[in-house]
């Protein structure tokens, strides 16, 4: 930890002359960036910690928070979380490597996730991923363009995104773009690359990966506005549509009823 590590290098790079031995062993590495987390982030950190009865519960949100600052979780982000929560680096790294949403490589302006679980895949998810992959010239978990610059895109295949009635599903920064085809997904990505932000089919207006990550950390701005984006899709309201059209209802509730007594003590 005491080694002076140039930005963009891993600890193994810096500490040893042997070229990145840990990578060969499959031990995950976190990049050093030299980022100093500012007062705003520190304030947000305190706000998050204060929500919980025990401070360690704030670790997952804090990792989202440092990711929102840097676009990924760096060694500096890990050290920051460890410091704020009185944990060791190893304890924080163990958590950061467990969860898929924490990225260890700098992420693009947008994170495009394509569901390739069985159901979405059979409806076209695999074809969407391969079309996007071909267009961007990258495989899953790679980034097209310079991370962080406008129009840069990280592509990933995702497991079930819990929108199966809208399949095949693509999300951009976790906002839903439902019922996609290879063509519509390609158009979406082309727009993103051009710096435009098509509106999600369900969800708030698109921002970027880092802004969304801050919200996931629990730091919201303009929450009252953002919840206003429509989400009631045709699929979500299918049952309601039938009930409305055929005047079907649940049995009506009684005016009053007798609350059951307490069970007798044995």
């Amino acid at each position: 930890m005491s080694v002076d590590v140039p930005a963009g290098q891993s600890r193994a790079d810096a500490e040893s002359n042997i070229p990145v031995p840990n990578q060969r062993l499959g031990i995950p590495e976190f990049l050093y960036t030299g980022t100093v987390f500012d007062e705003v982030t520190r304030g947000q950190t305190e706000e998050i910690i204060a929500k919980y009865p025990q401070q360690r519960s704030a670790l997952l949100p804090l990792l989202h928070l440092v990711q929102s600052v840097e676009g990924f979780v760096s060694a500096d982000g890990i050290a920051f979380c460890a410091d704020r929560l009185n944990l060791t680096i190893a304890e924080v790294e163990a958590v950061a490597t467990f969860y898929t949403m924490y990225k260890r490589e700098p992420c693009g302006q947008h994170l495009v996730s394509v569901c390739t679980n069985a159901l979405c895949a059979v409806l076209g998810g695999d074809a969407i991923l391969s079309r996007l992959s071909g267009h961007l010239g990258i495989g899953p978990d790679e980034t097209a363009g310079e991370p962080g610059t406008e129009g840069s895109i990280t592509l990933e295949h995702a497991e079930c995104l819990a929108a199966c009635d809208h399949g095949p599903v693509v999300t951009v920064n976790y906002e839903y773009y439902d019922n996609q085809t290879p063509e519509s997904a390609l158009e979406l990505v082309t727009e993103l690359q051009a710096g435009r932000k098509p509106h999600p089919t369900r969800g708030a207006p698109l921002t970027d990966f880092r802004t969304t990550e801050r919200e996931i950390a629990g730091i919201f701005s303009d929450l009252a506005d953002q919840v206003n984006a429509p989400t009631a899709s045709e699929e979500t309201l299918r049952g309601n549509e039938i009930a409305d059209r055929l005047r079907q209802t649940a049995p009506s509730m009684p005016e009053s009823y007798e609350m059951p007594p307490l069970p007798e003590r044995k």
């Binding site: 949403m101 079930c160 199966c164 708030a204 919200e215 919840v227 055929l246 009823y257």
Partner: protein, 452 residues
């Protein structure tokens, strides 16, 4: 179950009058506000009777609310179907120290897509349910663990908490009752295993989300080792309506042992996929009739009654009443009523391989059968679907699946073995045909490179 390839071997009982294909009748209870303008706002919620159940509950002794929940017969909507009132009653008597309600909103089981629309469309029903439940179990803090990716659902729930607090439904001395309650909205970070209740608790404590050995059960030692109730979103959202209508009213819907309405999520090769709230015990045939049937008229080949972890059914089970007991009696599980429907064009071995890639990715690594077994299953399945399998692979699959089932730390292992064993039960010939070359490989070698 041998090489005939027929799918209708599991012998469902068809009534003499023929199958009932009348469309399912909708009973909107949990979904009844979803189509209203700004359904997520507190204004809409209150206009449609919102927070009236809370006022009534706060005038009732907590123990009587637990009894009410027992009498209603409500069973957990997260998949296991455990009686909710009974779960609440397992908490030890109050000792003056904290106890918690934790809501499992980590929806991620493949096919399951009901809780996120619920939180988006009617977050206040979840909030009101949380407050009533906390009151009933003597807790002053609820944590809603929302799947990390579900950002719009999280915003709606977070805003609902703010609105409820502003109106005095949350915070100190709620509605002058002397009862205090707070709700934390917490985001996960992308781990399916955190849907398992004890893994969820570890994750909420800031650890890797790995299941705990039970006992002790969360009712005794849950969050921060204190008595904790963990319930699913749909379960907690059912609490206000049961308080409002009573258990007799609730039992007018559904079956004797699985009362109430249920949100059925139809997906896949269906003309009109989506959310359909109908009484427990409705059949897939009736739901499909309401949903316009199979897409383009291509017949159904197989479906999951409750997500990919539940044994697959074939058209022979179209008339099984979708209730916890009926589905179990027919050899599967109701799970989360995630009805993924696949038509005749879909290769069963391919779907099973895709699912196993998922379980492999999501296995937490804590126990050996699941950690190693899911890797082997995925690897062998990949070989089979790419046309490079040998007959012995099929025995390896059976062997590995049966060595995972019942031997893993939590239900993820069982869930991973299930697609393999149930596919072998109904469609073993499809696996054999891929090995013998009678059917061409489902995936080419090119597609394998870089896949997963």
């Amino acid at each position: 179950m041998t090489s005939s390839g027929a799918s209708n071997e599991a012998g469902a009982v068809v009534p003499p009058s023929g199958p009932d294909d009348t469309p399912a009748v909708m009973t909107p209870v949990l979904t009844r506000r979803w189509a209203s303008p700004q359904s997520w706002s507190i204004a809409t919620y209150r206009k449609l009777d919102g927070y009236t159940a809370l006022a009534a509950a706060l005038k009732t002794e907590p123990g009587r609310l637990v009894e009410l929940m027992k009498n209603s017969g409500l069973r957990g909507r997260g998949g296991a179907g455990f009686p909710t009132g009974l779960k609440w009653s397992f908490l030890p008597p109050p000792d003056g120290k904290p106890r918690y309600l934790v809501v499992n909103a980590d929806e991620g089981e493949p096919g399951t897509c009901k809780d996120i629309p619920l939180m988006m469309a009617d977050p206040h029903s979840l909030i009101e349910g949380c407050i009533i439940t906390c009151y009933a179990i003597g807790s002053q803090l609820a944590a809603i663990y929302v799947r990390g990716e579900a950002v719009q659902a999280m915003r709606r729930v977070a805003q609902a908490v703010r609105e409820a607090k502003e109106r005095g439904f949350l915070g100190k001395n709620i509605l002058g009752s002397g009862f205090d309650c707070e709700i934390i909205v917490h985001a996960g970070a992308g781990a399916y295993i955190c849907g398992e209740e004890t893994a969820l608790l570890d994750s909420l404590e800031g650890l890797r989300g790995q299941p705990r050995l039970k006992p002790p059960f969360p009712a005794v030692a849950g969050l921060y080792a204190r008595p904790t109730v963990v319930n699913n979103v749909e379960t907690i959202a059912s609490v206000p309506v049961i308080v409002a209508g009573g258990s007799d009213w609730y039992r007018q819907m559904g079956t004797e042992k699985s009362p109430g309405p249920k949100i059925f999520s139809l997906s896949g090769h269906v003309t009109r996929p989506g959310q359909y709230e109908a009484p427990m015990g409705t059949t897939l045939r009736q739901l499909l009739a309401a949903a316009g049937g199979m897409k383009d008229g291509i017949p159904l080949k197989f479906f999951t009654p409750g997500g990919s972890s539940t044994p697959i059914f074939t058209p022979a089970q179209l008339d099984v009443p979708l209730s916890f007991d009926d589905v179990a009696a027919a050899g599967s599980m109701l799970g989360t009523t995630a009805l993924m429907c696949f038509n005749e064009t879909v290769s069963v071995p391919w779907a099973v391989w895709k699912w196993l890639e998922f379980y492999k990715h999501e296995s937490c690594g804590k126990c050996t059968p699941c950690r190693e077994g899911t890797w082997w299953l995925a690897q062998v399945l990949r070989r089979v679907v790419s046309g490079r399998g040998v007959m012995a692979d099929l025995d390896t699959l059976t062997d590995a699946a049966s060595n995972i089932f019942g031997r893993a730390f939590c239900a993820l292992g069982d869930g991973a073995a299930t697609p393999v064993t149930s596919a072998f039960l109904h469609f073993r010939s499809e696996f054999e045909d891929l090995v013998t070359g009678r059917t061409p490989p489902v995936i080419g070698t090119r597609e394998l490179v870089g896949a997963h």
